[in-house]
């Protein structure tokens, strides 16, 4: 093979190898739960790490919101399959209400109790965060969010 063709072959093989390798890396990265989002079912099944900061999303269970003194509040989150409890000390967002889809960031203390340091609700009632949406669908829940 003459030099030019050999060079071209090397270049083409190099590019193919690079694209293949980076695709593999990206596939790996996509599968990694780098957002560390868990549904109540996954937490109930024990899939979430204890004592590590995680994100939890679900719908607020009606009637589960209990306020203590000093801005302490506990409420339950569900994905209509399992339920977990979230404990939060702080001001809840304006749009927080029962049946609303919310995301809590915090630590999983034990079993099904999450100590949240951040609670976020959405501005648009029809908007369900994509992760929660997927989780709801997985748990057999249809697309519409119950009002």
């Amino acid at each position: 093979m003459n030099r030019k063709r050999k060079q071209r072959l090397i270049i083409v093989l190099g590019v193919l190898a690079a694209v293949g390798l980076s695709t593999a890396l990206i596939t790996f990265a996509l599968r990694e739960n780098i957002n560390l989002f868990f549904t109540p079912s996954e937490i109930a099944e024990g899939k979430a790490p204890i004592e590590r900061r995680i994100r939890v999303g679900g719908l607020v269970v009606p009637g589960s919101v209990k306020r203590g003194d000093d801005l302490q509040v506990t409420f339950d989150l569900t994905d209509n399959a399992e339920q977990i409890t979230v404990r939060y000390a702080g001001i809840l967002p304006d749009l927080f209400r029962e049946g609303q889809g919310i995301i809590a960031n915090g630590k999983l203390i034990s079993g099904t109790l999450v100590e949240a340091d951040e609670v976020l609700a959405k501005h648009d009632e029809n908007y369900v965060p994509p992760e929660v949406q997927e989780a709801l669908e997985k748990a057999g829940h249809p697309k519409k969010v119950p009002q």
Binding site: L120, K122, H123, D124, E125, N126, Y127, P129
Partner: protein, 248 residues
């Protein structure tokens, strides 16, 4: 058919033919954009039904969404023109690419400003590092880089080739940047907000489509106008331009 298209493509590569043809096209294009934009914008900004949760403040999407679409399409157009410049060395492509840059940048800027205006009543602040606005800001920076490079190099052909390389690199990076910013947004601002309710009202949809079409026609007209100026400037020593301008 294919032969005809090939011939048309090569014809468009001639500055003189491009100038003549666009001279005939331009009035129609301007008329079309006016015809689409005026009713579209008046209806959208004035008469379309108010949105369920945002009231009247959502109306800016009739400008914001077309501007965003054009800003992104413009960059892709610049990159495609760049490929033509590097591979086929077509002078017309150089001129078109140079014209698109400031116009696309202006639309990106309009998108950011209207996004801000929309943000104030909705989020309460003039600026928020939402994934879309941040990506659009970076797109504006990419445009500015292209414009700055074009301005810095004196030789028109080298400037065109250098900006072609830059546009292509930028275009390849654009999806990566968008993905990174969206991902960054989920980490730092999970409460990302949708612009309208998930089921868009048909009245709003048609108005929006009219506005988008109208703005695209406007964009086309502006690019053609700018390219024609560029043609006259670069071809000023050729006989047909001299005759046109009236210099003997």
């Amino acid at each position: 058919m294919f032969e005809y298209l090939k011939r048309l493509y090569h014809k468009f590569g001639s500055p003189r033919y491009f100038y003549d043809l666009t001279g005939k096209m331009l009035p129609w294009l301007v008329a079309l954009s006016v015809l689409l934009l005026i009713p579209g914008l008046i209806y959208g900004l004035g008469f379309a039904p108010p949105e369920k949760y945002q009231g009247n403040s959502y109306r800016v999407i009739y400008i914001h969404v077309p501007a965003a679409s054009i800003a992104m399409a413009g960059y892709v157009m610049m990159a495609v023109a760049g490929v033509i410049v590097l591979v086929w060395r077509m002078k017309m492509a150089e001129m078109v690419a140079k014209s698109v840059a400031p116009i696309g940048a202006s639309f990106a800027f309009i998108c950011l400003v209207t996004g801000s205006i929309w943000g104030k009543p909705t989020w309460g602040t003039w600026w928020v590092w939402d994934a879309r606005l941040t990506s659009m800001l970076i797109l504006l920076f990419l445009y500015l880089g292209v414009m700055a490079l074009n301005a810095a190099i004196e030789n028109a052909q080298s400037a065109a080739r250098a900006t072609a390389v830059l546009s292509i690199v930028g275009a390849v990076n654009l999806p990566i940047i968008k993905y990174s910013v969206e991902w960054w947004n989920t980490l730092h601002q999970p409460a990302s907000i949708r612009m309208t309710s998930s089921a868009i009202d048909p009245e709003m949809l048609y108005t929006l489509l009219t506005c988008i079409a109208g703005f695209y026609c406007l964009f086309g007209a502006l690019v053609i106008l700018s390219t024609r100026c560029e043609i006259l400037s670069r071809e000023q020593r050729s006989s047909w331009v001299k005759k046109l301008v009236g210099v003997s």
